[in-house]
Subunit: 192 residues, 2 copies
DNA sequence: ATCCAATTGTACACACATGTACAATTAATG
DNA sequence: CATTAATTGTACATGTGTGTACAATTGGAT
């Protein structure tokens, strides 16, 4: 009923994700991006609407690979699931030959340059992560693995801080064992 | 012997630090910066050389306020000094009404956009921080406060990860008590 | 075969920033 | 007071990116 798209939208999105991940929000602009994608800006605006809309799509795509999604694995105890997430996170970060860290956390400091809506969406993703961790802590409590007197929110913040630390450090510490040692030591200290 | 400068270099440098801190490296450009400083680009290039040279100056200025400098306070035990640093860090970050986090860590992900020399200088500052922490851990060992079987480098990485986590989280968690609770809980878990 | 509508190509009118060059200004020094 | 050299003002040539508008293309549906 109409002309078919001549480029692979998924591949283009993937390329965009890489750019935002590697360079950060501010360093990505439409023209060079289109050149890398091998499409014209005309096609770009048609397909993605705007750079910010694309960035939102990129964040969603990125989060679909988020190790924290495994927190809800009901085959494991909550504590096991948390440890597993961190294990996977360390492996993932160490495996990345580009040492990009975490797309979401990396871009947090560029919020200033984004339209408010995009900035809020980004910040909400971190809040969600904290909430997910808090829910897991609650679950661990109900399983009797963590003392019910512990402040769940506080412990969740410790875990979020750990995840953030590992994500950022992974840009300079490339060894999986060393990363995992950070996670393992800190988690054990926290009683997880 | 020659014409005197008509603007306050220190004030301009301070303003630049704020800009880099708030917006990040990529979002700062010469023209708007000069307008804010109230000077011409001509004066700017004369006084600072280039944007990158200015950025390096800004990083030095920033680090002159670094709480981690107190690690070497010989009036305290190493463990006390470490706890104190984190306490000061939490206070500092919570006090910042702009919620800027840490200038150095924030800009790490923009390394890609910097000239290699600047990027390396930035990364070196984080390596220095790790080394300083490692030295403190060693000192704590010699004071018998930490078991000598502990891997100093590993523990230092845990502490750097914690500092990074707090710095980044402080952009969204603005409550000093909540920040300190993260630090306190994690430090205790690590036996510091 | 023709029509439809999504897609693509080309071009325009701006906007914004860069770094340098050269002339004009200025204040301390001899 | 004249000299000197850092500083400042103005201008230039250039580079890069933006978003839109409109025409040309294309492939499936009627």
């Amino acid at each position: 009923m109409a002309r078919a798209r001549q480029f692979d939208r998924e591949a283009a999105l993937d390329l965009a994700m890489n750019e935002f991940w590697r360079k950060g929000y501010c360093a990505v602009s439409v023209k060079p991006l289109c050149e890398q994608m091998g499409i014209t800006r005309s096609s770009f605006y048609h397909s993605f609407g705007s750079l910010d809309a694309l960035f939102e799509e990129v964040m969603s795509l990125y989060l679909s690979y988020n190790p924290m999604l495994e927190l809800d694995d009901q085959n494991l105890t909550a504590a096991q699931a948390i440890r597993r997430c961190f294990k996977v996170l360390c492996k993932l970060r160490a495996k990345d030959k580009q040492h990009r860290g975490c797309l979401i956390i990396n871009n947090l400091n560029e919020s200033y340059a984004m339209p408010p809506k995009t900035a809020k969406s980004l910040q909400a993703k971190i809040d969600n992560s904290i909430s997910a961790l808090e829910a897991s802590v609650e679950r661990a409590k109900s399983e009797g693995l963590i003392s019910p007197t512990q402040n769940s929110r506080a412990l969740a913040l410790c875990l979020q801080s750990l995840a953030t630390g590992i994500n950022t450090l992974s840009m300079q510490v490339h060894n999986e064992k060393e990363l995992w040692e950070i996670a393992d030591t800190t988690l054990s200290g926290l009683g997880v």
